[in-house]
């Protein structure tokens, strides 16, 4: 007799006491078992293909994984990621604060910046920076229309690596500005008001009250942006910066082992994104200070 068939009558009241003493079991869910079998089969098929297809060239992967050219490229990729992200964050913060300013001119400039850098493809911006010397053969400080006081050859002060940084960082700044702005707006207005009422200036309020609390809103998307940036840096190949992918290409251009070398690059990218994900989780935990969830644990 199942539970629902139990006679619920005054005479059967003693049965309820009996029910209350029975252990509770989990209902079986056969669908989950079927899904496991299907997924398992696909995994085995995938693994079989990867191991048995000689095209993957695993011995070649192993040979080049720690090749000095690959490692140099890897270092360049990491440098590009870090510097471009720092540049993007600084620009993003400045543009976001400008965008929320009382001053219409500052708001306009910030809006135009975002409009331009979000409105054109990153690859095109990258090429522009790469070809900057064509547009401005020399750069310097001087009087518009008059003599130049100092002057440099553009190609000297703007090596390709710097052009790559500018391309990535200025573009990132536009996206970061919107992330930062969302974070700043996510802090309740009462927080700034309380700070102003105490006598703190707008800048002090931003620094001591708003930004620390905006961080926990900003950090998850910044983590995403960093992970995304790590892979986006590979676009510098269009201006010939020797990053991970570029150096892998250089190698397979000679030995024609395209797939194994792309796997080498991919392995490094995925290792770095995995590390970044772990770092992101740790930083987020640190900035969740004062959160209700953490509060309950304390």
């Amino acid at each position: 007799m199942t539970v629902s068939e139990l006679p619920i009558t005054a005479e059967a009241r003693h049965d309820f006491a009996d029910l209350a003493s029975r252990p509770v079991l989990k209902r079986k869910r056969p669908g989950q078992l079927i899904a496991m079998v299907v997924v398992g089969l696909f995994a085995v098929m995938g693994a079989y293909v990867i191991v048995t297809n000689p095209g993957f060239g695993w011995p070649i992967v192993a040979k080049y994984l720690l090749d000095i050219r690959i490692l140099n490229g890897l270092l360049t990729t990491i440098e590009l990621t870090v510097i471009a992200m720092v540049l993007g964050l600084v620009i993003g913060l400045v543009i976001a604060v400008m965008r929320m300013s009382d001053n219409a001119l500052l708001r306009g400039v910030a809006g135009a910046y975002i409009w331009f850098f979000r409105g054109t493809p990153l690859m095109v911006q990258m090429l522009f920076w790469g070809f900057a010397a064509v547009l401005f053969p020399t750069i310097g400080i001087g009087i518009p229309g008059g003599p130049m006081l100092v002057e440099w050859n553009t190609n000297d002060v703007l090596p390709l690596f710097v052009a790559g940084i500018l391309g990535l960082g200025l573009n990132e700044g536009a996206y970061m500005a919107e992330i930062v702005r969302a974070g700043l707006m996510g802090v309740p207005a009462g927080q700034s008001e309380a700070s102003h009422a105490m006598g703190f200036s707008r800048m002090e309020t931003l620094r001591h009250v708003v930004i620390p609390q905006a961080m926990k809103i900003i950090l998850p998307p910044v983590g995403n942006e960093t992970i995304s940036m790590l892979k986006t840096t590979s676009l510098v190949i269009v201006i010939g910066v020797g990053d991970l992918l570029y150096n892998a290409q250089q190698i397979y251009a000679r030995n024609l082992q395209q797939i194994p070398l792309l796997i080498v690059a991919s392995l490094w990218y995925i290792l770095l994104t995995t590390i970044l994900s772990l770092v992101q989780a740790r930083i987020e935990k640190r900035y969740s200070r004062g959160n209700t969830i953490q509060a309950r644990k304390a």
Binding site: E193, A197, F200, S201, R202, H208, Q213
Partner: protein, 252 residues
């Protein structure tokens, strides 16, 4: 000296006149309660005192000095932000929604003003903050974050934070309106103690019992004007104006 004088204060919000010529004085050491229906302009008036709201015309003097504006030829212009900040630092404010800084413990909230604005050394600021928190009955909650405190506790920390700047004047904007009924008393008790110590206070409130017991002067506002003002017992027990009577009959 912390006398507050409202001289013909007007304020409009994009064409809507919310303050229509307020004339009112709170003497140094007095407690003034502003009562009235929501939308009557009492919170706006309070927020004009520390220039969180601008005024359209008229003047507010705190301690005999104009606040938020300065004389410029034959007109007034908004004061320099630095001067406004300086004046604000001497005026404590307590909000309906507490507005404690969520990323700081109770102690850090109370220490922040003295440390960052008054450049008080950390150790001294901490000792003073602990003393203030003890004064509002929260000596055992110094390390708690706002989210870990009840509404009444948060509001008492907020009062301690305002007091940390050693203000001459305290503004309270419906300090108990967001609290559960059983927590109202603990906040009002702290405010009563403050009044006994001689703090000049302007309190926007719906607590008629508090107004009657603690206030030296009560002003009833409606539609952007002070309908009547005076002795709390007179105003609350024997209101003269129909609008005051109608309002009190609903809240008492």
């Amino acid at each position: 000296m912390s006398e507050v004088q409202f001289l013909n204060v007007h304020k409009d919000f994009s064409g809507m006149e919310v303050l229509k010529g307020i004339n009112f004085t709170v003497k140094s050491g007095q407690v003034a309660c502003l009562i009235g229906p929501s939308g009557s302009g009492k919170s706006t008036l309070l927020r004009c005192v520390n220039h969180l709201e601008t005024t359209s015309s008229g003047t507010i003097l705190v301690g005999g000095r104009m606040i938020g504006y300065e004389v410029h030829g034959d007109r007034l212009i908004e004061a320099h932000q630095k001067d406004i900040n300086k004046r604000r630092s001497r005026i404590g404010m307590v909000f309906q929604s507490f507005n404690l800084f969520g990323h700081m413990t109770a102690l850090e909230n109370v220490m922040m003003g003295p440390v960052k604005l008054l450049k008080v050394p950390n150790a001294q600021a901490e000792a003073e903050a602990r003393e203030l928190l003890a004064k509002v009955g929260l000596a055992d909650r110094t390390g708690h974050y706002p989210a870990q405190l009840s509404g009444g506790q948060q509001q008492r920390v907020a009062i301690a934070r305002a007091l940390s700047m050693k203000p001459d004047l305290m503004l309270f904007d419906e300090p108990t309106s967001a609290l559960d009924p059983e927590l109202v008393g603990e906040v009002l008790d702290v405010m009563k103690a403050l009044a006994r110590d001689g703090m000049t206070m302007i309190v926007v409130t719906h607590e008629m019992g508090f107004a009657r017991e603690v206030a030296d002067v009560v002003a009833f506002m409606d539609g952007g004007v002070i309908v009547e003002a005076g002795d709390p017992n007179e105003i609350i027990s024997r209101p003269q104006h129909e609008r005051t009577k109608a309002f009190l009959s609903k809240v008492l």
